[in-house]
């Protein structure tokens, strides 16, 4: 934002320059965030296809790339249905609120040391606060629809989001204790120096647990499988957006995928070094910084993990959901806050083995998973050929 501020002529009043720079940033950000879901939905259908051994979209455009564009255009040509007895004002306001809540988090996402709309000193708190705006939107949607499924879906989603917000906050606290700041930029700066100084590998093996708690809670907060009982199609039709059609429906989807991106990006900032490259040598090519590339690569990898989990794990039941939040994640979270607090005091720079234990183990684990997956795929392909023969 400061960069654009500098570009504007200096003889304008300060407030015009500030607001102009802010709006320019916002236009870039909102465009990127609004177009993103087209890509993510396509990616999700392709990933789903891959995991279920089918092809996925392939007719519209090369490799089906334009499928989601076609879907979006189709939704724009659909009727708006306001169900009988619905509270029309709230019914319209709800998807707007959900979208606004999801998009506003973009303000603090750091894509590079200077590529950030604004580095708020309460950044992490702001992300948590703004992303809970969409909870209000979901309840509004469920309440205003005058539909029993929608109401149940909304109540469940509210209960789920508030329950999982607490473990998420607990794992945030540990990072805040290590860094001593709520600013996302400072969290990233504290992880300078390549792969081995990422917070995921600090206090090994404690921080990986924190990361898993945070990511699980994040998954639940964007209503993704296996935590998708608010829209469990086998029992609630579509949950809170049962009655929404056309562009309203598109808005809910846009918000969902945007929230996935935000959760993934925040997880990358907190645990995977944000815009730092895995090795300092990869940080820039010539004079071109690769910060945005690294952050987006990490965020997209985590989004892929979310899709992977969706097609791997079965949906939880509502009581199991509450069990995980309150009896597993919350006690773990509280313990971690105390534990990391003590460790921060006694080992301010982390354990002695932090630089060389965590990341090789993690890489080895991923390598192992990759090999297993490849073998499984090869086996199933072979079997399919045998069955056909």
């Amino acid at each position: 934002m400061d960069f654009i501020y500098g570009l504007l002529p200096a003889d304008l009043p300060t407030w015009v320059r500030v607001l102009g720079a802010g709006i320019a940033c916002a236009v870039i950000g909102v465009t990127a965030m609004a177009l993103g879901p087209l890509l993510y939905v396509y990616a999700e259908t392709k990933v789903a296809g891959f995991m279920q051994d089918r092809i996925g979209p392939k007719r519209v455009g090369p490799h089906g790339l334009l499928q989601t564009v076609a879907d979006a255009v189709k939704l724009l040509f659909k009727e708006a249905i306001y169900p009988a007895g619905a509270d029309k004002k709230l019914f319209i306001l709800a998807p707007c609120l959900v979208v606004v809540g999801a998009f506003l988090s973009f303000v603090v996402l750091p894509f590079g040391s200077r590529m950030q709309a604004v580095d708020l000193n309460i950044g992490l708190f702001y992300v948590v606060a703004v992303s809970s705006l969409s909870t209000v939107g979901l309840i509004m949607a469920g309440w205003a629809s005058n539909n029993k499924y929608a109401l149940f879906g909304a109540m469940r989603s509210a209960a789920q989001i508030v329950s999982y917000e607490i473990p998420a906050m607990m794992s945030l606290l540990t990072i805040v204790m290590i860094v001593g700041s709520l600013s996302l930029q400072e969290v990233v700066w504290a992880q300078q120096g390549g792969l081995q100084s990422w917070f995921l590998f600090r206090f090994f093996p404690i921080m990986p647990v924190v990361a898993i708690v945070f990511f699980t809670a994040g998954l639940a907060e964007c209503n993704r499988a296996p935590f998708d009982i608010p829209e469990a199609e086998s029992e609630l039709v579509a949950g809170f957006h049962t009655e929404y059609s056309g562009f309203f429906f598109a808005m809910f989807f846009m918000a969902e995928y945007t929230e996935m991106l935000v959760i993934s990006a925040v997880t990358s900032v907190l645990f995977l070094g944000g815009w730092w490259a895995p090795h300092p040598a990869l940080q820039q090519i010539g004079s071109v910084g690769l910060g945005p590339f690294w952050l987006i690569a990490k965020a997209w990898f985590l989004m892929f993990v979310m899709m992977w989990l969706r097609w791997t794990l079965p949906r939880l039941r509502v009581d199991q959901l509450m069990y995980v939040a309150w009896k597993v994640l919350l006690p773990i979270g509280l313990t971690l806050v105390v534990l990391v607090g003590g460790l921060v005091l006694w080992f301010p720079d982390g354990f002695a083995w932090d630089g060389w234990v965590g990341w090789p183990l993690t890489l080895a684990l991923f390598g192992f998973l990759f090999v297993v997956m490849q073998r499984a795929i090869r086996w199933s392909r072979k079997r399919a050929v045998e069955m056909a023969a």
Binding site: D2, T14, R17, V18, A21, G22, I23, A26, V27, L76, F77, E79, A80, I81, P83, A84, G85, I92, C96, V99, V100, F103, L104, F106, V107, S113, Q116, A117, V118, D119, L120, W143, N146, N147, K148, Y149, L151, A158, A159, V162, S163, I166, M169, L173, M177, G180, L182, V237, E243, G246, F247, D319, M322, Y323, K327, P331, V337, V338, G341, L345
Partner: protein
């Protein structure tokens, strides 16, 4: 850190949020208006009935739901307020040192006792054993 630039003062940096809000609301509004212009609208009474898997909807949708939702909402408020109190504590944690750790420990211990109490009372179960017996 881009703090040297003139726009980094407290209020102006927060004005970016305002700018984002304006642009997002504008984006949503433009799209809704566009949609309103190009969409067809042929309403019929049948089409507007709420969806209940093809049955005629019975009664209002604003029905009674499980009281457990309220219990969990209450619990959430307790622990969320705790998190809000702990955030500033975590920010200055390193500066204050062992004293902050001790005080945080006392605070978290009280809440852990509260959690244990609620757990013992069975309020963390979605279906309470007491309710089941009745």
């Amino acid at each position: 850190m881009p703090s040297a630039a003139p726009s980094a003062s407290y209020l102006t940096s927060h004005s970016a949020i305002l700018a984002f809000l304006l642009v997002v609301v504008g984006f949503v509004a433009v799209n809704l208006v566009l949609w309103k212009i190009i969409r067809p609208s042929r309403f019929s009474e049948e089409k507007l009935t709420t969806y209940e898997c093809g049955e005629n909807p019975t009664g209002s949708a604003w029905i009674q739901f499980n009281i457990r939702f309220y219990v969990f909402a209450l619990l959430f408020i307790i622990f969320d307020v705790e998190a809000v109190f702990l955030l500033p504590w975590a920010v200055v944690f390193r500066e204050i040192g062992p004293l902050a750790f001790l005080e945080g420990l006392v605070f978290i211990a009280i809440l852990a006792i509260a959690l244990a109490y609620v757990w013992r009372k069975g309020d963390l179960e979605w279906v309470r054993t007491e309710d089941r017996q009745v």
